[in-house]
Amino acid sequence: MWFFASNTIANLEERKIASGFGFLGREAGFEIGESAFLRYGAADTYARALVVGLTNTLAVALIGIVLATGLGTTIGLSRLSRNFLLRNFAAAYVEFMRNVPLLVQLFFWYAVITEGMPGPREALSPLPGVFISNRGIFFPTFSSAPELQGFNFTGGAVLTPEFAALLIGLTTYTAAFIAEIVRAGVLAVDRGQTEAAHALGLSRPQTTRLVVLPQALRVIVPPMTSQYLNLTKNSSLAVAIGYPDLVSIANTTMNQTGQAIEGIATIMAVYLTISLSISAFMNWYNAHVAMR
């Protein structure tokens, strides 16, 4: 242990790298492409930059979790459908998404948006006020609507290609895993339960809603929370497509200050906190809501 520590100290001195978290108070000097909640400018501190990164991570993670749950549950239930087409579409979806690395999928979506979509002047407009172009997806907010000015849109709100690619990639990828969890949960419910429900005259939708799903949920929640955690961790791949999440910004910070140890420690501490909180929640859930 001492061997490593002494080497580290020597190396840091040699490269004139500072130690400690003092750098957090210094001016960052770089711009951040987008920020979900906070305002930020190059004159703000590193600390603020990192916080912006964190909020960006949380933004994409939370929206991703909600969307992935919806999509995943739909696909999972579709896998159990009696309709041949629905069943096999869903199965093909799951099989494909689970066997291709997430990074490949992120690059793919990014390429689709930046290469496949038309420029702002020929933007697609599926709904009034919503424009899809290779500069991003523009949609109206309560206060303003996007308008074409010159080569780009102004006004309204925008999903940057980076955010959109990350969100779509994370959602579609995680949904495949959630689909399998939902399917396994429903299958785990004893056949006799559906038989008894049918014998009592309950219809198929009633049986699913009143008898099967409540029991399936207990089996589904633990692995589902695991997937939520995976989605959050996977959002760190943002660094590969240029979305300024926590890892991205920490990376830039590390490059500028040279303080790699502090930077990585920060990243790990944040993610560890998130993971342990979710684990704690799951333990609580198992203890209090477990199958009676």
Binding site: N7, L86, F96, N99, F108, S275
Partner: protein
Amino acid sequence: MRWLRDNFFGGWASGVFTVVLILLLWKTLPPFIDWAFLDAIWKPDPKACRAAEGACWGFIAEKHRFILFGTYPYELHWRPAIATVLLIGLWVFSAFRRFWRWWLASVWLLGLTAIGVLMWGGVFGMRYVENERWGGMILTLLLTTFGLAFAFPLSILLALGRRSDMPVIRALCIGYIELIRGVPLISLLFMASVMLPLFLPSGVSIDKLLRAQIAMILFAAAYLAEVVRGGLQAIPRGQYDAAHALALPYWRRTCLIILPQALRISVPPLVNTFIAFFKDTSLVLIIGLFDLLSTIKVSIQDRAWTGFGVEAYLFASLVYFAFCTAMSRYSRSFEHR
């Protein structure tokens, strides 16, 4: 007839789905087939590609050697080619249950040495090729193989340690597993690539590939440990009781009775973890190593071939999909025994 009716028009909702899905297929499949096959350009001609409506697969024809072998010297490509075949062969060979004997380990040792000799060279008159020049498919396969080869025994130790009666060992194992599983792989790769050099005396350096490999091993070990732990927990209590009753010492008990059973039960989730690990090797792109995904990405950064990202990543998807699907089918065949 009845099958058709039940499966396509079982209820009014089912009928609606059938109609909608067929409509969707009708509208998207023909245009896609046009784009991907009929109008596509297969020749390595960038001008034709840009002029055409269809997909451009020409870059594969032009760049396939780079994609498969990275920056390995062009005239020596036969060496990584044989190494790749050998490596895939080793995996396929190990997939057959009847080869699961002690001599399998020696087969692997021989195989890996042969691969090492082929890749590095320097003996038998073959030119030495430093591992900075390795890339593409062989790099992905090597990272996966060595990653799993070292992580697996480590994971068994971790799993056993987690169930240990000694509080220090138990705490260390739990701490390690929870730490690694709680952070993203990318942070571990950063740690290896940036922090590891700081820990060593100046002048000593570990090359990049090794750093990445170490990070991947540490990562895999934690996840595999949880799978093995599941297997250990799934063995009926009676087995432990019987082993204790026979008065066998700890390691003998564990190696002869407990582990064989635990591992046998764990094969499906283990293979699933292997598949996930194979996919995770793609992340080394971020720290500058030239794995398969990286070579594909770089191949379209060539001025002549920019702008064909969609084709490039579809191609990448297909390659990974082929490998991963094969492995997952294999894993599923175990569940039917």
